[in-house]
Amino acid sequence: MEFRDLLPDYLLGQLDSEEARRLEAQLERSPELQAELNSLRAALFRLPEQLAPITPPPRVWSRIQKRLRGRRLLPWSQIAAVAASLALVFAGIGLYQLQSLRALQAEQAKIARWLAIPEGKWRAIKNAQGEGIGTMIWLEDGSCLIVMKDPAPRDRVYQAWGRKDGQPVSLGIFRGRVYETRYEGFERMGVSLEPPGGSPQPTQPLGSVPVS
């Protein structure tokens, strides 16, 4: 059977894991197959449109708001404590500079959002000399935030890497100090310093942390 014939079954969750894995590998290689999948998905997910919408009780949105605020808005005292703890992580290794953090408003907002997530876990990213060069915050849903002590030098970029089966996989480049990516499926996550545009392999690894 051709891969194309498996697409409806795939969308309806009817393939076993091995069949699905083979199809997904083929989808990575074939834009045409991916386009066909997207087209069938669009048709399939119009099915719920046959149903007349029904107004949910007002309490549903209230509960959603409450859960979002519980997730985002910890009491300021807790946020301050978390921020102070993060500062200590850096300060303790003599590298944290609060002034530069304040200068980068967008990055600060992003960091604050992550700090307010109660289930977030952190680990310092250290170089070969054991000095902290940044921190990684990660969530159980597979997402993570890399916070570097300093922005990349003017003529260089940071490149994030995941290590899988001993091989580095590029997760993208960034110039600032903050980078959101995903860690799931990797044994380690790391950062290297690279020429603009990045490199196929890390040329100047800075540090890494285990994530599995």
């Binding site: 399939l44 007349a52 009780p57 859960r67």
Partner: protein, 184 residues
């Protein structure tokens, strides 16, 4: 009016007001889907909450190349509902009828600005053979596997597979056909 794509980008940046607008646009449709899938109002409400909290957390993963925002929202809700159905191993035997005007149910018809999409989908579904339509809907709404469908309908497994594939391909064709007829 802001597009769904703009809104989901704002949600990815933590904008609660953008999520509220998406809820206003899709909450009633997702709730209808969940009532159809799960049968019970209480569980449908729980999953509706879970769906929009997850949408808030996952918004940055939205890829417009892979589908519309509505597809993304429905996918999240359907996956959560299917997990519940699989956990309890019993599906609703039929879509429950709700009295939409009973204030005790705190429900009512969603203010539907434009029922065109609903009518188009209903017409496309009506063009499928009743058997193909039933298989497609039972697989989509209740997550029945090929073998479960084969047993439920006392139909050979190969026939179920063929009919399901055909049903989805025809649904797409009929939906696209409607667009062409509409001159778009």
């Amino acid at each position: 009016m802001e597009s769904d794509s703009d809104l989901i980008r704002q949600v990815a940046q933590g904008e609660e007001s953008a999520l509220e607008e998406l809820y206003r646009r899709y909450g009633g449709k997702v709730y209808a889907l969940l009532l159809r899938m799960l049968g019970g109002r209480e569980e449908a409400e729980e999953v509706l909450q879970d769906s929009f909290v997850q949408l808030y957390k996952e918004a940055r993963r939205y890829d417009p190349q892979r589908g519309s925002v509505s597809t993304f929202v429905f996918t999240i809700a359907r996956n959560l509902a299917l997990s519940r159905l699989r956990a309890r191993r019993v599906r609703p035997q039929k879509a429950l009828e709700h009295d939409l005007h009973d204030p005790e149910q705190e429900m009512g018809l969603w203010h539907e600005h434009d029922p065109t999409d609903r009518v188009l989908v209903e017409r496309a579904l009506a063009r499928l053979s009743p058997e193909d339509r039933r298989l497609l809907e039972e697989s989509f709404y209740w997550g029945y596997s090929h073998s479960e469908l084969s047993e439920r309908h006392q139909m050979p497994l190969g026939t179920v597979k063929t009919k399901l594939r055909r049903a989805l391909l025809q649904l797409r064709e009929f939906l696209e056909g409607k667009v062409r007829e509409g001159g778009e």
